[in-house]
């Protein structure tokens, strides 16, 4: 028996030794390798899962060497996508925090090795949150099939379902929101015959609410938590969608009316201000990190849908007093997009209070269907806004959110195939500039994203695992009568 085991061991050793071919007489190529996903020159957090990648073209063999200033070197050879060993990768990252990992790629073609210029992956010293949460949904028009809200830990490739719409047939789950990445403060919507908005805080069991009141235009959407956890800003929108006949544009989603409201979690009341309930179209609210301002986008009234190309939203703000739940007496315009013949969506303030990141499009508010959609950064200290050149592409960049330390952003982009949105993560430095973004790593990213039939939607950082009691959610959804938000006029 021992003899057999020895043989097996010997065979394994021999196999592992002989599996790598020496890169000899290599010819130097004066260009960087064409790899997919493109991880050349990206900045990553020190806990990120291995950035597996492969050459865009097929070769007999590809040789990859990852090295840094420490002792750890990873040497792999493969004819497809090699899987970087996770423990060695972690060592390599931790040895190179604040520095870079050098990646050397050689390919073998027609018995000749070619070596490309090395590239670098920068390892930031800025920490990142534990996971990201997102909805997975197939790109569609009016009808939706299977979808769900999922969480993915950033240090490895593990994805878990938080909630899937299979729980109640014909339902749609959307708009999950945490308080500054803290999922113990949670809200999300379930739409459909048994629809409801769920709200949970550490002091309050998860509860399904009916959010439509007689005084609001519609059920509450686009939630954003107040930093105290006592309020949630919502928008109430009368939304329609219609379809273009020309190929370059597919869907137009627009509001006939919209208002911004704030929900008091403790008193179960909706509060608003006459300044937010006007003929203007107010939408996409978010609170400043000190909780004393409410940001939102606002457009002058238009005759919809006839003037759908003329509606342009500006970035505005109103004061908010969390102690009394009252609003200021005037509205400030922080970024006058109309002046640029543009429109603002998804204003998201950094949690350090320095910046507001937003999406800029030509018109309207449904940026995901706008190819020209780009991410912009507004410096609240200087009032200057500029595009995030490091992370924008010539396709759609839309939804985005901040990490809890305001040093990372995760955003959705259609740059891959022009239709399916994928999550990209980018480092933001203290000046509000973005380093090159990287696609969420996968074990075998090329095949994973090739085979994935869903888009990533509403990517949000989360600093802890999200756990829902699914039978409890189902029970609450199936209740005929659900508690309602009440409306309190300011």
């Amino acid at each position: 028996m021992r003899l057999y085991l020895s043989y097996i061991f010997l065979l394994l050793v021999l196999f592992s030794c002989s599996s790598k071919e020496e890169v000899s007489n290599s010819q130097q190529v004066s260009s960087l390798p064409d790899i997919q996903p493109d991880y050349i020159g990206v900045t990553v957090p020190s806990v990120i899962a291995p950035l597996n990648f492969s050459m865009a073209d097929n070769f007999e063999l590809t040789d990859f060497v990852f090295s840094g200033k420490g002792n750890t070197t990873i040497h792999l050879q493969s004819s497809s996508t090699p899987e970087i060993p996770i423990n060695k990768w972690k060592d390599l990252l931790s040895e190179n925090i604040g520095d870079s990992i050098k990646v050397e790629v050689s390919v073998k073609t027609e018995n000749q090795w070619l070596s490309y210029l090395p590239f670098f992956i920068h390892v930031s010293a800025d920490p990142i949150d534990e996971s990201i949460c997102y909805r997975l949904i197939a790109p569609g028009y009016e009808v939706y099939s299977k979808m769900g809200i999922y969480q993915r830990t950033l240090a490895d490739f593990k994805q878990d379902a938080i909630l899937e719409n299979t729980l109640v047939s014909g339902s749609c789950v959307n708009c999950h929101s945490f308080k500054q990445t803290d999922p113990s403060y949670l809200t999300f919507h379930v739409r459909g015959d048994h629809g409801a908005t769920f709200v949970a805080t550490p002091d309050k069991e998860i509860t399904a609410y009916s959010t439509k009141t007689d005084s609001t235009l519609s059920p509450s959407v686009y939630p954003y938590w107040h930093p105290s956890g006592d309020y949630i800003a919502y928008s109430n929108n009368m939304t329609r969608q219609t379809f273009h006949t020309r190929e370059s544009e597919r869907i137009e989603v627009f509001d006939f009316k919209s208002d911004v409201t704030v929900y008091n979690v403790k008193t179960n009341e909706i509060i608003t201000s006459p300044l937010l309930k006007t003929e203007n179209f107010e939408t996409f609210p978010s609170f400043s990190p000190d909780g004393k301002r409410l940001y939102f986008t606002c457009a002058g009234p238009k005759n919809m849908p006839a003037e759908f190309r003329d509606i342009q939203y500006n970035l505005c703000a109103i004061d908010f007093d969390p102690a009394t739940g009252s609003f200021g007496n005037h509205i400030d315009t922080l970024f006058y997009a109309e002046g640029m013949n543009k429109s603002v969506t998804f204003p998201r303030p950094s949690y350090d209070g320095r910046f507001i990141m937003f999406t800029l499009i030509d018109f309207g508010q449904f940026s995901i269907w706008h190819k020209e959609a780009d991410l912009w950064m507004l410096d609240l200290a200087t009032g200057e806004a500029k595009p995030l050149d490091g992370i924008n592409s010539n396709d759609t960049e839309s939804y985005h959110s901040w990490s809890s330390n305001s040093r990372w952003t995760v955003f959705s982009s259609r740059r891959g195939d022009g239709l399916y949105t994928r999550p990209y993560i980018a480092h933001i430095n203290e000046n509000g500039e973005a380093d090159k973004a990287f696609l969420l790593p996968q074990k075998d990213p090329v095949n994973f994203y090739k085979e994935l039939l869903f888009s990533y939607n509403i990517p949000e950082f989360s600093n802890a695992p999200v756990k829902l009691n699914i039978p409890e959610i189902e029970e609450q959804l199936m209740q005929e009568e659900k508690p309602s938000f009440s409306f309190k006029s300011n």
Binding site: A138, P139, G140, Y141, E142, V143, Y144, S145, K146, G148, A161, L163, E164, N165, T166, L167, V168, S169, T242, F243, H244, T245, R246, E247, S248, E249, R250, E252, P305, G416, D417, G418, L419, Y420, N447, F448, K450, E451, L452, L453, I470, P471, E474
Partner: protein, 595 residues
């Protein structure tokens, strides 16, 4: 040793049943078989496999979907269904033989009952092959367990196997527990007292319930769905009664067979066999007949033929039996337009619900958008065809994707020059069995506008696309059709649809307004129905027909005179149907909007 005739006799019932099922699904229900294939996208990928295996019943679903991809060829599908049903019968026969320790004819006859019930279940176009596959798993496991001689090993095996089986096959594996319990009762009937049996039974029920609850905690499905079988039926909130009857039959038939063998004497068995044969054969035939839906089969047939571009076959079928539904009629109109005959023959066939037979309005289901999508695609309104393909696919109630829709989306993406998007869909199709070749071929067109422009189908459809951007409005499709003609004045399909649209609307003024748009299309003579409309227009202006400025066939002018004469002489206008039912005049003046 068994003699040759005996061996043939042994296999004959199974073979006969297999043959009957093949003939039924191959001849009577072929398009129900093909119907399934278009609502799934079976991928040879790890992700697809893992995703299915992450739900109870996923193993059965995976095999069922693997087999369903062959339903693209209805005879092959019929063979697969027949084989699965026959296997169920064989396994069940072996189980009841174990119960009765007999090879009697009675066993053979009753062993077909559950298979017949499942066949009836499968007559429903939304009944999935997952259930019979799950039953194969459950019956095989039952038989394997029952054959373990040692009591303790058998019991442990049963207890351990159930959760695994439940995860692989889903809730149909409950019959595994039921059959095993029945087997144990038979084996140990004299050892235990009734209270002990009640205790054993209760423990098993609790065990089954615990497995159910535990599995529900692992997935985002309601308990009722897990209990009913997640993917046994396409619609999640409904399960046909026959499915539960079929499951119950495995236990009740087993029980009945045991009873028959104990009560009926050996010499009376032949009579019992005859009676049972008549009951099973007669009842089975009646049950299947009651489940057959010929109207749906007809609609599915037209849909299949339109998908396969079998335009002449559609017309031939309609000539034999006029279509009985609006969706079927949609395909006939499309086939006529594709062969340049819409203006000549459309009123030979029923036109339902005014414009619905021409351009069906979008409905939130998985069927209508598929029918309508074909029309829009061939007209050149490829973006609408794209949207309808997506809507049809996203409407599939069991959350599957559709290879047919993926293909259409890829086609439209190529036509529109959205090559990156097209590649995404083609890459997925390359992981299928029957679309791989097409996808590989289509991939050679990517980023090559010249090749796309030269492509016989994509090139002409690219040329037909509208340049103007506006919001799609289902109530103003005549405007859209006119714009298609403005873009390409030789788009014959669009012209015939526009004219047919106005004819069906009974809008003669609109008809004549758009008539000149067809100047760019070469016709040997003005199509018959257009001539009929022109004669109506001219006559309504009280002008003599011989002065009509268009080339009207003498036969048509004479026919019109005859129609007017008869129309004025009869009270019941329906009497004109025999002679003039295939004319526009009859549609215009005698037909109500809804047939």
């Amino acid at each position: 040793m068994m003699t040759k005739p005996k061996r043939i006799f042994k296999f004959f019932p199974g073979l006969a049943f297999w043959g009957i099922v093949v003939l039924f699904f191959g001849l009577v229900y072929p398009y129900h078989v093909a119907f399934h294939e278009q609502y799934q996208l079976f991928l040879f990928s790890g992700q697809y496999f893992i995703e299915l295996l992450s739900i109870p019943g996923g193993g059965a679903d995976y095999i069922a979907r693997f087999l369903t991809q062959f339903f693209l060829f209805p005879w092959l599908g019929a063979g697969i269904i027949a084989s699965v049903l026959t296997l169920i019968q064989i396994l069940f026969l072996r189980i009841i033989r174990l119960f009765t320790h007999s090879n009697s004819l009675v066993n053979t006859i009753v062993s077909f009952v559950p298979s017949i019930a499942i066949m009836a279940f499968l007559c429903d176009e939304n009944a999935m092959l997952s259930l019979p596959i799950a039953l194969l798993f459950a019956l095989s496991a039952s038989l394997t367990c029952m054959q373990i001689p040692k009591n303790t090993t058998r019991s442990i095996c049963g207890v351990l196997l159930f959760p695994v089986l439940f995860w692989i096959a889903g809730s149909a594996s409950i019959i595994f527990v039921a059959l095993l319990l029945l087997h144990e009762i038979l084996l140990n009937q004299y050892k235990f007292s009734i209270p002990k049996w009640i205790a054993v039974f209760s423990v098993f029920v609790l065990y089954v319930y615990a497995v159910l609850l535990a599995s529900q905690l692992l997935v985002s499905y309601p308990l009722s769905r897990v209990l009913n079988g997640i993917n046994y039926y396409r619609y999640p909130d409904f399960m046909p009664f026959i499915k539960n009857v079929a499951l119950l039959l495995f236990v009740s038939i087993s029980f009945l067979t045991i009873l028959i063998h104990r009560v009926i004497k050996k010499e009376q068995m032949i009579w019992a066999s005859i009676v049972l044969f008549l009951l099973v054969f007669g009842g089975g035939t009646g049950l299947i007949i009651s489940k057959v839906d010929t109207a749906k089969e007809e609609a599915f047939a037209y849909n299949y033929m339109a998908r396969m571009h079998q335009w002449n076959a559609i017309i031939q079928k309609a000539e034999k039996n006029p279509p009985v539904s609006s969706l079927a009629s949609t395909c006939v109109n499309l086939a006529l337009a594709k062969t340049g005959q819409l203006g000549n023959h459309m009123f030979q066939f029923p036109q339902y619900d005014k414009l619905e037979s021409l351009l069906p309005k979008y409905q939130r289901d998985m069927m209508t958008p598929l029918f309508a999508g074909e029309v829009y695609y061939h007209l050149g309104m490829v973006n609408t065809a794209h949207r309808l393909a997506v809507e049809a696919m996203e409407s599939i109630p069991d959350y599957q994707k559709s290879a047919r829709c993926y293909k259409r989306i890829a086609e439209v993406s190529i036509i529109n020059g959205n090559y990156k998007t097209a590649r995404k869909y083609l890459n997925v199709l390359e992981e299928t069995l029957f679309y791989r070749k097409w996808a590989k071929r289509a991939e050679t067109l990517l980023f090559n506008d010249e090749s796309v422009n030269k492509h016989p189908e994509f090139g002409s459809l690219r040329k037909n696309r509208i340049d103007e951007d506006f919001f799609f409005n289902a109530d103003e499709q005549d405007i859209i059709l006119a714009l298609l003609l403005k873009k390409n004045s030789t788009n014959r399909v669009a012209f015939e649809y526009l004219m047919a649209y106005k004819l069906l609307e009974r809008d003669i003024t609109g008809f004549i307004k758009f008539f000149s748009l067809g100047d760019g299309i070469s016709y040997f003579s003005i199509p018959v129905h257009f001539q009929e409309a022109l004669t109506v227009l001219w006559s309504s202006q009280n002008k003599p027909l011989n002065e009509i400025p268009w080339e009207i066939d003498t036969r048509i002018s004479n026919n019109m005179k005859a129609f007017i004469a008869e129309y004025n002489s009869v009270t019941d206008k329906k009497l004109l149907a025999d002679k003039f039912g295939d004319t526009y005049w009859y549609y215009l003046l005698c037909e109500k909007d809804n047939k």
